[in-house]
């Protein structure tokens, strides 16, 4: 297994270089540059173009594409992620300031979706064809179909405007910097994101559990006289969770970059919002760092999924 992991990690390097090049190229191909975003269009007509050129020069935007890319890559190797073109703040510092918010939201949502999804999926499989199964299937359909922003707005209307149980948005207010003091800010966005992901996990674990329950080793376990709960939960669930673990593993990176909508609806100051703003303003160093790490997480998750699959399913061997 160790050899497998080392080999996979070594393969990451050329993949990261190739992907980073493509992202850099993509940002470069967008019309305009960061300076165009700094001056509102209505004010552009009266701005001295010579001074704008000086700003471009100062920010290094006039260098040829390959020079800029090689400089960026060289800096990355030395651990320097550059500076935000908009604020001059080191990108690493900028991302570090947003990452806790995103991780907080993502992990909470992942826990919610994993627990609820797996549990309801197993119940649905065990109660196949009953009212409970049908009700959960409908719930799953709705969960998959309803857009996150709409779900978020409904949650706000009900729990903020109607019952006034939670704040309207944001992550904290002065004096509530500690995690447990600002849990009320986390509840709604985490529930919205978590529940919207629950449906998928539930459908996945249901079908996986059903598949597992039809296998020969389950029949063998039953014929040996094991109690039903033991057959289902120990023998059935363990193998059934393998594809679910794969799904959850691949959701890790999605939770980092994919919480953009939820962050917007709940004014959650995370990486997603920052990334959207950076793309709009062609803030290349910020775009590159967030994209780079998203890619890295995808690739690392893929290795993790392989390892977890091998651990969960005795039939899988890493080679």
């Amino acid at each position: 297994m160790l050899n497998f992991i080392i080999r996979k990690i070594l393969m990451l390097i050329p993949m990261l270089i190739a992907i980073s090049f493509l992202i850099f190229l993509g940002v470069d191909l967008m019309p305009g540059d960061a300076v165009d975003f700094m001056i509102p269009p209505d004010a552009l007509s009266s701005v001295d173009p010579v001074k704008l050129e000086a700003l471009r020069e100062e920010l290094g935007l006039n260098d040829p594409f390959f020079v800029r890319y090689v400089k960026w890559l060289g800096n990355i190797v030395q651990g320097d992620f550059g500076y935000s073109l908009q604020s001059g703040v080191p990108v690493a510092e900028l991302v570090a300031s947003k990452l806790p918010a995103t991780l907080e939201l993502s992990i909470a949502a992942l826990i919610i979706s994993t627990l609820f999804g797996s549990l309801l999926g197993v119940v649905s499989a065990l109660k196949k064809g009953t009212l409970v199964d049908n009700a959960l299937t409908v719930f799953g359909m709705i969960g998959v179909a309803i857009p996150q922003f709409l779900f978020g707005l409904i949650m706000i209307m009900v729990f903020v405007f109607k019952f006034q149980w939670f704040p309207v948005g944001g992550r904290m207010t002065p004096g509530s910097e500690f995690f447990f003091m600002r849990l009320d800010y986390l509840v709604l966005p985490a529930l919205t994101l978590g529940l919207s992901l629950t449906a998928g996990v539930m459908r996945y674990s249901r079908s996986s559990m059903l598949d597992s329950l039809n296998k020969d080793y389950i029949k063998t376990a039953r014929s040996k006289g094991l109690p039903e709960w033991r057959v289902n939960l120990v023998h059935g669930l363990r193998v059934a969770m393998t594809p679910v673990a794969v799904l959850i593993g691949f959701r890790l990176p999605m939770l980092i970059g994919g919480a953009v909508v939820i962050e917007q609806v709940f004014q959650w100051p995370g990486v997603g919002q920052m990334f959207v703003m950076a793309v709009r303003s062609q803030n290349t160093p910020v775009v590159m760092m967030v994209a780079f790490f998203s890619v890295l997480i995808v690739l690392v998750s893929s290795i993790l999924v392989d390892v977890v699959t091998a651990l969960l399913d005795p039939r899988v061997k890493l080679s």
């Binding site: 165009d36 001074k51 604020s87």
Partner: protein, 553 residues
């Protein structure tokens, strides 16, 4: 409902298009005067016809739901607007007649550009296209992306004969003006951003008169003459004036403070405002997302820009300079060529350092080198004697700024009618924190992560991208009778997508926007009042009258 009305409008216009088709088919085909000039848009009749063909009144009532004002000039209604200007009210028959007279080439397709991505603009462009089609004018609309300055505002080398450098027939744009001069100076033949109007000596002379006096009444007379000339010749096509909307909650009392143009800076009487919130907090939006925005382009777009810093001179809600602020008093010479500011003593920056006359000199010299500095400020600062030598690095300081103790004397090389306005809008910056830094990358300076001013509020706890808190500056030289001790700013930038949500949740006491949709939504929120305010903000079509071949063949 709005969509239905819009659909009905499109249908009506489409029907009239079919009705009008036969008439246009009979029009003479070619050999028109415009051919000699290189573009049909050089013919005033065609420009007027395009305006007569648009029913702006209906557009304002439908697309803008009545929350905009029809424009007959760049100037908004009020004392600066000339009486009796042609309003070019919707008259498709007149449009057809003028087009026929001018022998509009029916095979010509107008190339119209715009750069806004909002739905209202798209709706407006669609309906204008239909209106023009109804009188037999084909037009294609396209959204510009990327380097807008290069695509929109580059003038030709030859300001008389062209040819045009920009590649469009009409450009839909907006002018947000601090001073009337911003509306019209751009049509002068020497203007660096005049890409569409060839030299018109009569217009140049009239524009020059508006710049030749600092006397407001004389300026008004001069501007009215410019408006008349522009309107008669339809050198550009003003469409509507945008309103701004200020939202106030029933938790705050402005204590007689006037509401004005929140795109810029004016005395809001904030120190006297009161709130019924027990913690003395006032909630607003526009908090910093990645940094506090410097003042170069917009000196008062965000509330914090107004109250963290002070100006030499106060302005009222109409942006008219009123009395001294950092300047205890000031004098302007009769010819407007000299200003003397006597500064308040004992004023300190938020970090406790003393405010001095050197800060005033530093601010002017530093700001003059910032890219993107608003044209009004650029004109004022570069009109100071010795400004050019300073920029050319021939001198260490601008020679026209003389300091003596607490007094700053500014001598101008040429008259700038808006100099006092500039000193009422652009604040004084702390030399002890910014001196030695590169003004070209001013916004990237760490200073703007937690700026230090002399204003009535100072930066408190800030979680960029989440919220910013401003705290009342108890050392401020003016006290006030209000009880607002802190201001909570949601970090939502200029176009706040969460404004209505936060207001509904009781977390907005004061905010503003230019969005008709916001105004409509906020009007339905209990405890919120929507206050429409006239501002100098005009949407228009620039008309490219320089010779240029048809873009769309």
């Amino acid at each position: 409902m709005k969509k239905l009305v819009l659909l009905a409008l499109v249908l009506i216009v489409s029907v009239s298009l079919f009705a009008g088709g036969a008439t246009e088919a009979a029009a003479p085909a070619a050999a028109a005067e415009w051919k000699a000039m290189g573009t049909p848009l050089a013919d005033v009749r065609i420009r007027q016809a395009l305006r007569y063909a648009i029913d702006m009144e209906t557009i304002v009532d439908t697309i803008f739901e009545g929350k905009a004002q029809l424009a007959v000039s760049m100037t908004s209604p009020g004392s600066w607007l000339a009486d009796g200007l042609n309003d070019y009210a919707y008259n498709p028959e007149m449009a057809k007649k003028l087009l026929k007279e001018a022998q509009w080439p029916s095979d010509y397709t107008l190339d119209v550009v715009y750069y806004y991505g909002d739905q209202q603009t798209v709706d407006l462009m669609s309906i204008v296209q239909q209106y023009w089609a109804a009188v037999g004018v084909k037009a294609q609309f396209r959204k510009l992306e990327g380097d807008l300055a290069a695509q929109l505002w580059v003038p030709p080398a030859d300001r008389v004969n062209g040819p045009s450098v920009v590649k469009w027939d009409l450009a839909y744009a907006a002018v947000a003006a601090l001073a009337e001069h911003e509306f019209y100076n751009r049509f002068d033949s020497s203007a660096s951003n005049n890409s569409s109007l060839p030299k018109k000596p009569a217009l140049d002379a009239l524009i020059a008169k508006t710049n030749a006096t600092a006397d407001v009444e004389k300026q008004k007379v001069a501007f009215k003459a410019v408006q008349k000339e522009m309107s008669e010749n339809m050198y550009n096509m003003p469409l509507y004036h945008q309103l701004s909307f200020i939202y106030t909650s029933d938790k705050i009392d402005l204590k007689g403070g006037k509401l004005g143009n929140d795109q810029f800076s004016y005395d809001k009487n904030l120190l006297n405002w009161t709130t019924t919130r027990p913690d003395g907090m006032m909630y607003t939006n526009g908090g910093p997302e990645e940094f506090y925005q410097m003042h170069a382009v917009n000196p008062g777009l965000f509330l914090y820009q107004e109250i963290l810093f002070d100006r030499l001179v106060n302005a009222d809600e109409n942006l008219t300079p009123t009395d001294g602020l950092l300047a205890k008093n000031y004098t302007v010479s009769a010819d407007g060529m000299e200003m003397v500011f006597e500064l308040r003593s004992g004023v300190t920056w938020h970090d406790g350092k003393p405010f001095t006359a050197e800060d005033v000199r530093f601010t002017i010299e530093y700001s003059l080198q910032i890219p993107g500095l608003n044209a009004v400020a650029v004109t004022t600062y570069s009109s100071i004697k010795g400004a050019k030598d300073f920029l050319d690095k021939k001198t260490d300081h601008i020679s026209g700024i003389a300091i003596s103790g607490n007094t700053v004397k500014i001598t101008f090389d040429k008259l700038d009618p808006n100099a006092l306005l500039t000193f009422s809008q652009w604040p004084v910056l702390p030399s002890h924190l910014l001196a030695g830094s590169n003004p070209v990358t001013c916004q990237q300076n760490a200073f703007w992560q937690k700026p230090v001013g002399t204003g009535p509020f100072k930066v408190g706890q800030t979680v960029l991208g989440n919220y910013g808190i401003l705290e009342r500056n108890n050392a401020y030289f003016l006290k006030g009778t209000g009880n607002i001790s802190k201001i909570f700013m949601h970090a939502n930038g200029e176009n706040d997508p969460n404004l209505q949500k936060n207001a509904e949740g009781g977390k907005i006491d004061y905010a503003w926007s230019k969005s008709v949709q916001d105004a409509k939504g906020m009007a339905g929120i209990k405890g919120m009042t929507v206050n429409p305010v006239n501002i100098r903000y005009t949407r228009l079509f620039y008309i490219n009258q320089y010779p240029h071949p048809a873009n769309i063949k």
